[in-house]
């Protein structure tokens, strides 16, 4: 359709290079890759990540020279990159006719472009590139990723601590001006947001507060408190500093939630089974306490059960007091959400499943998390049915006798 309104070319990447197909889905032009698997693997990875590689740029330029104005891609990311950087019209079609031609005739096209001497070489070439590509991805996926998990969860905990520290300061500081707000807003993040957005207490009007997402009733209560406040009149420069601090605190909240999201993804990759059982945060804490996934995988379930309760455990070993029922796994909703007398039993059960999950994550990588989770929930139901009431406490005397025996 040269001379017409629309001249479209389909641009596709593959192991031999970047290929352009015309309206009739015949190859019009192509820029081939160098014959080096490591280089090609890197280029393909960049392409997938939505980076513009030189071959792609060159092909688009050449096709433009031939009068093509619209470019069709099968991969949205590549289309987007081309559109942004080269400012040409792009379209995305998930399966193109040209793609069918390419997938059906990759060998022939490789010979046509002078990339291969013989079609039969294609399989060997694909083997080489796929080996290289997979090796890179595996390296990235498994290289000490569990230690990254450890750092991430510790950073999340650190930011939590820092936020608490800062917020206590802010509450006290801003409290000079508007002390009543402290009791009215419990959530730190909301408090920081209100101070950062509204500043002086005079701005705490029902309209402004509702704009910030505070429900009507609470907004009017807060506004009333602002009017009647017993706080000091601070100067604008004083308030400005507090607002600035609140702005920084809000940024730190955003950092924290980004990290939490990142941790979830990371855990799905590093320890999908533990994640499925205990959630990303708790799973990551266990890995951190054990000092890595490998170490966790080598621990017996009884150790997993009390990870994080070392102090109580060693006190018990030393003095014969009652041993702890749970360490950090207490944070699991199945434990802290259960009746007190069931927690020990459930902790034992959960620790057992977690030990299996850790070993699977560390040594095989298979996903059995859904099965473990089902087992766990079924057993918890059984336990809850079997022990609806706490065991009657032994008499005080008997308890003393027990304690003595433990020594």
């Amino acid at each position: 359709m040269i001379g017409g309104i629309l001249v479209r070319a389909t641009v596709l990447g593959c192991v031999i290079g970047i290929l352009g197909f015309g309206e009739d889905n015949n190859l019009v032009d192509g820029v081939t890759f160098p014959r080096d698997a490591a280089v090609v693997a890197e280029k393909l990875e960049e392409l997938e990540a939505g980076k513009l590689i030189e071959e792609l740029e060159e092909l688009i330029e050449r096709l433009r020279g031939k009068g093509y104005t619209t470019f069709v891609f099968e991969r949205p990311k590549i289309a987007q990159a081309v559109q942004e950087k080269l400012e040409v019209e792009v379209r995305i079609e998930s399966i193109t006719e040209a793609g069918e031609v390419l997938r059906g005739n990759m060998g022939k096209l490789a010979v046509e472009l002078g990339f291969l001497e013989d079609e039969a070489e294609l399989a060997g070439w694909i083997h080489e590139v796929s080996m290289e590509l997979t090796r890179r991805r595996v390296r990235r996926a498994t290289e000490k990723r569990d230690l990254v998990v450890v750092q991430t969860i510790q950073m999340i905990d650190d930011s939590e601590k820092t936020l608490n520290l800062f917020m206590n300061r802010v509450r006290e500081w801003y409290g000079l001006h508007f002390p009543e707000l402290n009791r009215l807003v419990e959530k730190h993040e909301t408090y920081a947001r209100l101070v950062s957005k509204l500043g002086r207490r005079e701005n705490f009007t029902p309209e402004n507060l509702m704009k910030e997402g505070i429900p009507e009733e609470r907004a009017s209560r807060m506004a009333e408190a602002a009017v009647r406040s017993v706080g000091a009149e601070l100067q604008d420069v004083d308030i400005e500093k507090i607002r600035m601090l609140c702005g920084e605190i809000l940024k730190l909240y955003r950092v924290k939630s980004t990290l939490e999201e990142y941790l979830r993804e990371l855990m799905d990759e590093v320890a999908p089974n533990i994640s499925a059982l205990a959630g990303a945060t708790l799973g990551a804490r266990l890995i951190a306490l054990a000092g890595g996934l490998d170490n966790l995988a080598k621990m017996p379930a009884s150790t997993v059960q009390v990870l994080g309760a070392e102090k109580a455990l060693f006190r018990s070993l030393k003095t014969g007091s009652r041993p702890p029922k749970h360490g950090v796994i207490f944070q699991h909703s199945l434990i802290h959400g259960s009746k007190r007398w069931l927690r020990g039993k459930i902790a034992r059960l959960l620790a057992g499943k977690l030990a299996i999950a850790a070993r699977t994550d560390s040594f095989s990588g298979k996903f059995i998390g859904d099965r473990l989770r089902e087992d766990l929930e079924r057993r918890v139901r059984e336990i809850r049915e079997k022990y609806p009431k706490p065991k009657p406490k032994p008499a005080v005397r008997a308890r003393r006798r027990l304690a003595r025996r433990r020594k």
């Binding site: 596709l12 393909l44 083997h127 590139v129 997979t134 095989s364 990588g365």
Partner: protein, 232 residues
């Protein structure tokens, strides 16, 4: 009794071995002589090395022993293998198709594919490992061309749909699929039979002509192997 190896009467590339104790096993000709993939036994007969094929480890072997009538994976075939894991079955596929064929092994778990990469694909030039999510078939379009067979063994609730998506991109018209359906990974609360039927219906809706449905008991519980031809 002497060990004896014969070609399988129906399926090229597959062998039957009679062992010393008189029992008969499946086997494939080892494309990477001397190399063992998952602890299987190696047997040398008339100067050629064969690997015994364990039906308890490989669903394809189980299906053949359970009387599969057509095995679309033949010497020279190109195969897209979804869910290759560490390569137990995939290595036998590589043996069957031989040097003239090619098997693309798609696997999502980095741990599993690391084994595949280092222990299997390195020694088999007709295998290409691909670390990617089978649910997003366009993710490996730079590597994979049209294939003759798609073999699918992924523990995913929507396996038939995932398979159909892959077929649309990569399977030749009149190509074959083999789908191992595991009832437990779809929905444990439902009857296996219901689930098989649901997946098979999805296949039919996507232009597959179902040829055989084979139960894999006693080798695997609640599993079936489905073979179908693509009329896409």
């Amino acid at each position: 009794m002497e060990v004896e190896v014969r070609s399988h009467p129906e399926f090229p590339g597959i062998y039957e071995v009679t062992l010393e104790d008189g029992s008969t096993r499946l086997a494939t000709r080892n494309l990477a002589p001397g190399r063992v993939v998952y602890g299987e036994k190696l047997i040398t007969y008339e100067g050629v090395e064969y690997r015994l094929w364990d039906p308890y480890r490989s669903k394809l072997a189980a299906a053949i022993l359970k009387g599969l009538e057509v095995v679309p994976i033949k010497p020279g075939c190109r195969v897209l293998y979804l869910g290759a894991a560490s390569g137990t079955t995939a290595s036998h596929v590589s043996d069957i198709i031989g040097e003239g064929g090619h098997v693309y092994c798609v696997e999502f778990a980095p741990r599993a594919i690391r084994e595949l990469l280092n222990n299997v694909c390195r020694f088999r030039l007709n295998m290409s490992p691909i670390l990617a999510d089978a649910r997003l078939p366009s993710g490996y379009s730079t590597l994979v061309g049209k294939v003759d067979v798609i073999y699918c063994d992924i523990a995913q609730p929507e396996q038939a749909k995932i398979l159909a998506d892959n077929a649309r991109l990569y399977l030749k018209r009149d190509g074959w699929i083999m789908l191992a359906i595991k009832a437990r990974s779809i929905d444990v609360t439902k009857e296996p039979k219901e689930l098989y039927e649901r997946e098979i219906k999805t296949l039919k809706k996507n232009n597959f002509e179902v040829k055989e449905v084979i139960r894999l008991e006693p080798y695997e519980k609640d599993h079936v192997m489905v073979t179908a031809e693509y009329k896409g």
